[in-house]
Symmetry: C2
Subunit: 526 residues, 2 copies
């Protein structure tokens, strides 16, 4: 059994605190900089690379980070997790999202069921269902094929699957894999459902209701909008709707759905893109083979995360550098900057995955910790961000670590050549330029035009954004967040911080309130 | 002439530093909380309200903030700005975006031209053009009406207009004002233009090329994509394209465009939504009368910002509280959380407006400042965010001030009643509940379920998100950022921090590089 200790109780904590800081502008200049780019690079799955040359680490700091990995028993904890230990202590649950995409350790059995077989079986059922929808064997009442799939879910049932869909839409269109358009309804704001329903052809739409508990307020409310819209067109909602839920939820065996696919309590919403939550919509949109490739990329990355050598474990290296930046360099936020328009919503997904997992002040035993934990995560695609908030990133008073992502090839392969370069070359020239500009800066007599540099970044580089690289990318960040949670001694898999708001909202609706809350309700006309 | 002094040289700086902090959980409880909600409220334009009851201020702190407003001469500086002083000192330019929507002070003349007349004249020309497009007097080569308008621009030519379009799309559809669908192409990533061009009917699309200088790399590259697509269909690009640019740009008198509309150097990109940059696309999408209402809302809010009494000046009050949080309470970021799906991209626009304006380390004289300036801005619509990053906002180790926005009515007016409440009521019950949960928290024996509270927020409440309230909302934040820049003694209207990356990117494309940059270029296959 691994030992769970607070970060600041480890011996290496003080060593890291006292370690000599790296002068990033200095080490990234000249020959030294070139060597760092060549050597500070960890291979990832699907041919990708994690390059951290422009981070404020050197061989000394890395030796301490390796020591931290060992003292915090990161590999042992990961092993316990994938072998089915109750890592989510608060909710007394195992944490099994990695098992949706591969068998990393021994068989995991819960409630008498082999969980890997359970997940595989659901994937198979989803694949068969999707094939039937694509062939027209499952069709609408008029016998016509469904052309659109609409996911109804919020939080992890929305952000991850939506980001993954957008990431692969262009690739699928170019590679003959595009089967159905997907849309998403999430917000309880009635304008969200209304706007989507106005946009789609309801009679040829298949809706996926996604709620593990079957009780999510937003999702059930939005289901009503959809049922109303179907009924208004004389259609039977039960013929247009499937559910992704747990076997014990009220949705599981209901006649309201054409079919139900199952997940379980061992997969948190924000880690559910590789479960049925992402599986149904992605298999319907792009076909089960595309979803299988996505899982394969994730599984390969999960396997890399088993390496005890941080030089061969990209997620662990990324995690440890992030902890160093957060706890010893004092940086409170991290920007995620994909140089790929297809990853436009990937930062929003990471924002949930990271901030909901590690935005906590008590350790896994419920005791307050004396160190900072998860940072604020935000980001937009480049080059767009360059014309927006990069001003602050370059010259603001705070330093914000940056996480770039880039691909050598575009998804559509359509391009124009202007001034001897393609748009794809311009895109990547920009990301390379930004890394060096942030790290090295530039002197100028006019202080307003001076760049201090010393602003750290890493970059993940892939050949092309496709199902496999996307799966690897997703798993990389999931595992990074997991390792950071281990270092901080947190339970990264519950989310008690979202409960109080829910409870109070119900009281507002029941008018069971007084004081400030009653006055706000009054102002808002509730 | 106003005196421009560093913030920490003002007398009130030390007073604010030493002022007794407010215990938010305490003052927001019981009768005291109810009174704060009633009284800590500033009327805004278009019937809106700025309520700051849940901010860490009390009458003592507010008295100091009023003193700060006076000592920093905020009203005098605003007056100088709208009367045409050279406030953008770095670029030696006036700052005139408020003049696009109203005459706040005396006539402003530049280069022999009355600038208010110039802006009005361009608005008139755009309105006439839009009317002709809507009537079909201006049509495609086949004499068919244009059905789609596509804005090609990046940064301020994209984020603001896109956020405004999305904010009004639903309202326009419900109120008979929807004329044409708008799409946006911004990123130099070739997949951005390709994806949009695949989605639209090119033969019935009118493209707006937006670039003040006429030299923006991304925009000119994307123009080529569009011209290729038009030519491939045998269409004449010059019959499908208009330009919004400065009179001195290469685009101004070119035969490549059906028409050109002008802006000038006195309006920065991130402040250009009320100029032709937003005017062309919004007038085409919704009609010139809708754009006029939008300007009217902004003008009303600008007028309120003239009030020297902070209790009657919502932007100034908001700005001062933000400065207090940043410099004396030490909070490094702010989340913008609109409880309105239509405002889905409003946080991204504010992110640019705020971070590009005040993300600076030197004062307006080019001297380094010894205090922190602009915060990180991020956000997503509620209730979506509640199922995502709110965990960290509630229970993370850092405190993040929050800026809520909510409306009493939805835009479409379409709703369902479940468990005795509509979705709109649920939406607003949630925002009310969140404010109180963040401020007051909740004790629990299980520390994992405990909420410390003391997390500050403000809320802007309006009747409905429509052109007037949207204009007021936009101007509120523009003026807030302006006042904060005045306090911090910054030039909020230049953006030298984006230059170095541009220069280095050109060098990469010209292969004029060595060291780390050459290695990155190699890794990225450039």
């Amino acid at each position: 059994m691994a030992n769970w200790k607070n970060f600041d109780s480890l011996n290496v904590y003080q060593e890291l605190k006292n370690a000599k800081k790296v002068n990033l502008a200095e080490v990234m200049t000249g020959e030294s900089g070139a060597n760092r780019v060549k050597n500070y690079c960890v291979p990832m799955a699907a041919g990708m690379k994690f390059n951290y040359a422009a981070k404020e680490v050197n061989d000394d700091i890395k030796a301490l980070l390796a020591k931290l990995a060992k003292e915090a028993e990161l590999s042992e904890k990961y092993e316990e997790l994938y072998n089915g230990a109750v890592i989510n202590t608060g909710e007394n649950r195992m944490v099994l999202h990695q098992l949706t995409r591969g068998q990393l350790g021994k068989d995991v059995v819960a409630d008498g069921v082999n969980k890997r077989e359970f997940y595989l079986n659901e994937q198979k059922r989803i694949a068969e269902f999707a094939d039937k929808v694509h062939s027209g064997a499952i069709a609408n009442a008029a016998g016509e094929k469904f052309t659109t799939v609409v996911q109804i879910g919020i939080g992890g049932s929305d952000l991850g699957p939506r980001a993954m869909y957008l990431a692969l839409e262009g690739w699928a269109k170019t590679n003959g894999k595009f089967k159905m358009e997907a849309q998403f309804i999430s917000n309880v704001d009635p304008d969200d459902a209304t706007a989507v329903l106005k946009k789609i052809d309801v009679a040829h739409s298949l809706f996926i209701l996604v709620s593990k508990s079957g009780t999510t307020l937003e999702t059930l409310t939005n289901q009503s909008f959809v049922m109303d819209a179907l009924k208004k067109q004389g259609l039977d909602p039960a013929k247009h709707m499937i559910a992704v839920t747990s076997e014990t939820s009220p949705l599981a065996k209901s006649d309201d759905y054409l079919e139900a696919f199952y997940m379980d309590d061992y997969i948190g919403g924000r880690y559910s893109s590789t479960s049925g939550v992402g599986g149904a919509v992605l298999s319907l949109a792009f076909g089960p083979d595309v979803f299988a490739d996505f899982l394969e990329g994730a599984a390969e990355e999960d396997a890399l995360a088993k390496n005890t050598d941080i030089e061969k474990n990209p997620a662990m290296m990324d995690a440890l550098i992030g902890v160093y930046e957060r706890n010893f360099l004092g940086y409170p936020s991290t920007a995620v900057l994909p140089y790929s328009q297809a990853l436009s919503r990937f930062p929003a997904h990471l924002q949930q995955m990271d901030m909901e997992s590690n935005g906590k002040s008590v350790n896994r035993f419920g005791e307050p910790v004396d160190y900072v934990t998860g940072p604020v995560i935000f980001g937009e695609p480049g080059t767009n961000g360059q014309h927006s908030f990069y001003q602050l990133l370059h010259q603001g008073t705070d330093i914000i670590p940056l996480q770039f992502v880039a691909f050598k090839k575009s998804q559509f392969g359509n391009d124009v050549n202007i001034e001897n370069s393609t748009s794809q070359q311009k895109l990547n020239a920009n990301v390379a330029a930004q890394i060096v500009a942030f790290a090295c800066g530039k002197k100028d007599e006019n202080r307003n035009k001076e760049f201090k540099g010393g602003r750290p970044s890493s970059i993940i580089i892939g050949e092309e954004l496709n199902p496999k690289t996307l799966g690897a990318l997703l798993a990389h960040f999931e595992n990074k967040v997991m390792f950071q949670g281990f270092v901080w001694n947190l339970n990264s898999f519950d989310q008690e911080g979202v409960q109080l708001g829910k409870v109070l909202a119900k009281k507002v609706l029941a008018k069971d309130i007084d004081g400030a809350l009653a006055e706000y309700a009054n102002l808002l006309n509730i």
